[in-house]
Amino acid sequence: MTALEALSVYLPPVREPIRSAVGHLGLRDMDFRIFEKFGLNEVGRDHDASLYDLLMNAAAGLAELQGEEQRVRYVIHARAMPVVAPYPVNPLHEVCRALGLGHALAFTVAHQSCASGLLAIDLAGRLLAADAAIAADGEPAPLALILAGEKAFTREAQMYTATTVFGEGASACLVSASGTRDRMLAYAADVRGEFDSATGANDARLQYEYKYSLADVMRRAMGDAGLTLDDIRVVLPHNVNRKAWVATCKQLGLPLDRVVIDNIGVLGHVFCADMFINYQTARERGLLQPGDRYLAAAVGAGGGATFAAMVFEH
């Protein structure tokens, strides 16, 4: 069963008020006030760090990787944005070389925008399970390294008007196909091609359906895991904004205090790294005990929208 083996998170030491972080984009005072109403106050910015630096800083904290590099078959960058560096710069390949993972198959998933982090976990687990099925006896179990985090360097990677402000940061997570820690019990994803931000034609409908579709996919993941909301100790949200989660919690009948929600105000939406960062926060706060079940959920909106949820056992 797919499992998270180890996790490391890097957050920039400096946080900026959103009025400073995206103040150069020509937004109106009204736009900032809407962000603030949505609970977005500060975001991380590491002006001296490249994407390579962000990812390396996250990976550097992954002590469990040291000495196990040869077990890593796949390095997956889970990304929200299709372009994160000017060609031919390839931060992912640079990170692989620096970490001694040049042998691994490295690729990016960005197809589900901000929900691509959950997609990467599922994909890694399935690839590793297929490898394990044909592995020789005694061969060490293979691993995948999932990296998430991006630079807020283009306008669309800095904010979506009346929706979110992106923050910088990164995560590095080792995944196995058969681990015992943080086992994935279920994954559900609804891909909705009709919500294409390129045309904007269905933006109003997406806003209207957001809480229903997110709640539905969360219910489906819980159902697939044979669980109900009462069985879920903690929900790890994507950090799009507080208002979306308040509405979704009401729709689900989920008390807001079971959602690790306060990173939204101080970190913003850290692309696909939200779930990993919020997991770390839950651990630091002692919110997860062995055997606890928790749910991670994300919505990716871009070329289509994806509503995704994943249930784990800690």
Binding site: M30, R33, I34, K37, T161, A204, Q207, Y208, A247
Partner: protein
């Protein structure tokens, strides 16, 4: 237990309606008057973003703070519904 609406200050609600109809006409660039019974989506074509701007303008003009997180578009079909929400989910700013 009473709902926030049950304790509604009708005078304040009317003040919200008056301000809201004026602001809405300006935000929508609409020469005809906006009335309390008008439907926000179907008749006025109010987007969620413009709805938020309306809330912020109301805050400025009425010197209140509105609990925007509690806004549920489905419970607000008409201008009057939205005024009721504002009157019952705001405090002096």
């Amino acid at each position: 237990m009473t709902t926030p609406e049950a304790d509604l200050d009708s005078e304040f609600r009317q003040q919200v309606v008056d301000t809201m109809t004026t602001v809405l006409a300006r935000l929508l660039d609409r020469p005809e008057p906006v009335t309390e019974s008008m439907r926000l989506m179907e008749e006025l074509g109010l987007s969620s973003t413009l709805g938020l701007e309306l809330m912020l303008e109301l805050e400025d003009q009425l010197l209140i703070l509105i609990d925007v997180e509690e806004m549920d578009p489905e419970c607000m079909t008409t201008v009057g519904d939205m005024a009721t929400f504002v009157a019952s989910h705001s405090r002096p700013g």
